[in-house]
């Protein structure tokens, strides 16, 4: 690609200097060069790759994204400068980062039924929840969990290592309980919510053999909701979970086992066919947050003392856990299905619902409750949205139009669109910081990996 040759034809040229925060193999010499002003991102990326190739003979081409004054370039350089009113006379400093787009797609791991929930907060495995049971006898609707453990990342497909069995209806939400200071522990505790009106807590030994999927029973059943539980979230400290339900309430539960906790529990003995007895604890909710008037579709517990909840009554609330009262009540006019809190100092609220617009609010902004960002490239309901846990800018969203989109707050266009799902996408999450896992109504769990988010 001889850009200098092409450049003769272009009348306008811009003096630019490429800078980056990337590590040395990605660094280009910081001399300023003149480039044609009608280049788009792709052209800029080709230039940077050429520069890198000049310094390093065995360089492999890598897509880059470009930032000018903290905004991603999504049109030709000339238009961008014109639109932002940046002078083309001075030497322009263009920061480049690795383009945020999946470079590889793992083979989808097939489930028996719709994949309705996914949690990728543990880098060792992916936790998915699934609709299950309609294929079986009507009197025995049950659902299973798959705890897919990937031995190696690049293995072609994930193996199902554990099946958490016990829910009587579709699983709606899953969450890994991560107690602080126990990262090294192989015993992972997991909370799941289901349409059978219960929340169940499970204990999983990750180190277990992965040849065949091991069946696990819940150690604690939390039946307190009078309708389907839509969402479950664990407290960062790990000793409590909260759940939102169709009965308009948010219940808080203790996660500890019988010997540790002092809360009211009852032991439910259950006889299995072969005679051995199993004990399962039943817990009651510690407290209930009442205020929503319709189904609580999503709960998030980002800090130990605050819970965010979204509801079909068109409101997003922030609850003070100690007080049990809502300290913020945002009305947004649409049914909200998914909610996540993250971004800048993990205080931005991203939510999507019954329209194709992903909205982001800043509750710290005084005065107005208007969303500060609106992303509207989807064409149907948004079913999931998640902030990247390291980056302030990156979001993933899933929609019923079968697309998973990656977003950057610095541009209104999606960074990447994953269109591998054949049907509605019901859930999506980040995994290991550089992959997106998504599950949908085509019963597939997709892992799109090698996404370079700084």
């Amino acid at each position: 690609m001889d850009f200098d040759g092409d450049g003769e034809e272009f009348s306008r040229r811009v003096q630019v200097r490429f800078i980056t925060k990337l590590q040395p193999p990605f660094k280009v010499p910081s001399t300023s060069i003149a480039i044609p002003s009608n280049l788009t991102r792709m052209g800029l990326s080709a230039i940077v790759n050429n520069l890198l190739l000049a310094g390093n003979a065995d360089w492999k081409a890598e897509p880059f994204d470009f930032l000018i004054n903290g905004e991603l370039v999504r049109m030709s350089l000339e238009e961008f400068l014109l639109a932002k009113g940046i002078s083309a006379e001075k030497i322009l400093e263009i920061e480049y980062v690795k383009a945020v787009a999946p470079r590889r797609e793992e083979d989808p791991s097939l489930h028996d039924d719709w994949v309705s929930a996914v949690d990728g907060s543990n880098p060792g495995f992916i936790l998915t929840g699934c609709y299950d049971g309609l294929g079986r006898k009507l009197d025995k609707i049950w659902s299973c969990f798959k705890l897919c453990q990937l031995n190696r990342i690049w293995k072609s497909a994930g193996l199902c290592s554990h099946v958490l069995e016990g829910h009587g209806a579709a699983v709606t939400s899953v969450s890994i309980i991560k107690p602080k200071g126990l990262e090294g522990s192989t015993d992972i505790r997991v909370a799941t919510a289901s349409k059978d009106k219960t929340v169940r807590l499970w204990k999983v030994d990750v180190e277990g053999s992965s040849d065949h999927s091991k069946k696990v029973r819940a150690y604690k059943i939390l039946p307190g909701h009078s309708a389907s539980v839509q969402s479950v979230a664990a407290k960062p400290s790990g000793d409590m979970v909260c759940s939102g339900s169709w009965d308009c309430r948010i219940n808080l539960w203790q996660t500890n086992e019988l010997d540790k906790g002092g809360d009211l529990v009852s032991i439910k003995k259950r006889k299995k066919g072969d005679g051995d007895e199993e004990t399962q604890l039943q817990g009651e909710s510690v407290s209930t947050l009442v205020g929503h008037t319709q189904c609580v579709s999503s709960v998030v517990w980002p800090h130990n003392d605050t819970i965010y909840s979204a509801s079909w009554d068109h409101s997003i609330r922030r609850w003070d856990v100690e007080m049990g009262k809502d300290s913020l009540n945002m009305f947004c006019g649409k049914v909200i299905n998914c909610l996540d809190v993250g971004g800048e100092s993990s205080s931005l609220i991203a939510a999507g619902g019954s329209d194709p617009i992903l909205r982001i609010w800043d509750p710290r902004k005084p005065g107005s409750l208007a969303p500060i960002f609106q992303f509207s490239s989807h064409t149907s309901w948004i079913s999931a949205c998640k902030w990247h846990d390291k980056s302030w800018f990156h979001l993933v969203s899933a929609s019923y139009d079968g697309k998973v989109m990656l977003w950057d707050l610095r541009t209104a266009w999606p960074l990447a669109v994953i269109e591998s799902h054949k049907d509605k996408v019901l859930c999506a999450d980040w995994w290991r910081g550089d992959s997106v896992v998504s599950g949908g109504a085509d019963s597939k769990l997709l892992i799109s990996s090698d996404i370079s988010v700084q």
Partner: protein, 699 residues
Amino acid sequence: MVELKLSETGSGAEESEFSENEQEIANTSGGDDVSTGGVEHAPQDHGVTDNGDFQQEEDQNESDEDRHGVEESDSSEDEVAPLNTVGEVPLVWYKDEEHIGYDITGKKIKKKERQDKLDSFLASADDSKNWRKIYDEYNDEEVELTPHETKLIRKLLKGQAPHANFDPYAPYVDWFAWEDSKHPLSSAPEPKRRFIPSKWETKKVVQYVRAIRKGLIKFDKPKEEPRVYHLWGDDSSSKEKAAHGLAYIPAPKPKLPGHDESYNPSLEYIPTQEEINSYQLMFEEDRPKFIPKRFTSLRSVPAYEKAVSESFERCLDLYLCPRARKKRINIDPESLKPKLPSRKNLKPYPTTCYLEYRGHKGAVLSISTEASGEWIASGSSDGTVRVWEVETGRCLRIWELGEAVQHVAWNPSPDLPILAVSAGQDVFILNTGFGNEEDQKRVKVLLHVETHPEPDDSSQCNKASVVGWAQDARHEGVRLKHFKTVSSVEWHRKGDYFSTVMPTDILLAIKAILIHQLSKKVTQRIPFKLHGLPVSSTFHPTRSVFFVSTKKNVRVYDLLKQKLVKKLETGFREVSSIAIHPGGDNVIVGSRDGKMAWFDMDLSSQPYRVLKCHPKDITSVAFHRSYPLFASCSDDCTAYVFHGMVYSDLNQNPLIVPLEILRGHTSANGRGVMDCKFHPRQPWLFTAGADSVIRLFCH
């Protein structure tokens, strides 16, 4: 003497002028010895100098005349001092004297010697300039007129301006720069009289005022308005005609001919052959009346071909001309439209379809939403009843009933998750399996208890019963066997009673509508006589009132008092569906001729509004439970959403605003949208299509 001193000292510019005068005077006066030391006087006497100057000049002139005669004679007489010093006395007195006066030194001024007449005559005859010479008797001298003076005299004689250099026709230079007017009539400033009130006018006004006061001037009396008028009179024509004969109607002005009507228009006006051919395809009214043609000369223009036909038509017009003059009402049709609020202010309402519920194999005939809005149930012509999850579009349960499912209805009570389904001649009460364990227990009890012991007993002991209650083992429910096809099932708000409608012929009409009680498993007929074929029935949302719609009318019965409360006359040929406003006082009725009627029960038994919007049959109408919305769906594959606001103020009529046309369904076997239901809590509309799809329209 002071003056002389002055001039001698030579102060300023005057010095040069007066220096010679001084010498002359010195000469004439014979040289007065004047001291030159008068310098110190000069400033004080300066004020007098002007007068002195003039006198000096006169003196100088005198002395000049002595020498040069009358050179400067154009000045006034005072300046040219006469030689004669006798004064203004008749010269006759000096007739015989030698002298005439004395000069300043006291010597006699001698008269000139008299030439005798002959000499003077001869001299004048010799002298060519004699004609210029005039004898001045007073000064006793002969004056010769200079050519300048003669010219002056000549000009005077002609009546022209005497001065030679005066140009009477000099170009006019205005003293004021006029901006606007190039040709000012007068450049004079505006006279003052224009700014002050006219005295003459005031006098005249005063005169009139006095005359009016005295009664000399009389006015016309004001016309008396007729206190009554002919209410039904044709004010347009009859009176005027009687008064003035036929009123004059000006002929309409014909349009002036343009270039295209010329006998030789330029080429761009001539239509091409293609265009002329295309005129043939137009309607006769739309065709252009005149097609431009070219002729080389005026002579070759043929006679007007339509002359005969047009004059015939004109005759027809005259013959058929109406003799009455009709006034055209000039009203903007826009202003006649009722003022409706903007759609934007009436949000939220369903607009876009985001979710589809696919799975049925046949037309979806009926849908019903669960009270919380988490699930919907649908019945289809493929014989299945399905329950769907609203949020994801997932089909949760399927019941195979074998016969086309006409109607499904969720129990309105939130803790009784059961469905009433009509399929063929049977009505099934199905347990959906939702709800918590207690609910399930209650439902089991409700659907279980009496079924197997006495299906026959119940029918025997209750003679009115025309329905067999039976346990349905296959579907874990209750089966009510009717004797005719059941078209609709409706629950009472408390979830214990439900009504079924069998559209049968008139003879059996008394049994056509049955009310069942689930808890006691009892069936009873409604104790009213129906007039016409029943179509559907509904319970009042709050009171114990029962609505039955027959093909033409809607009858409202009070179940407690067991009597007819009201009869709503729709005026339609065939009513298809009915929905009650959650307030209970307003009813909408959809008909098979595409019209929908809104009844305000407090107003009258006639419809408050009839909305005609669908070109085909309306299949279903629905009210929203909490939002002021209602909808209708039709076989034309559309659903209409309306804003229907009912005010608690009895004086205010309901406000009905059409909001949105929802499209998306496709036609199948000539049927379009079969049913529509609102989500119980969201402003969303479910529509069930004959294309076996259920759609959810969201706001």
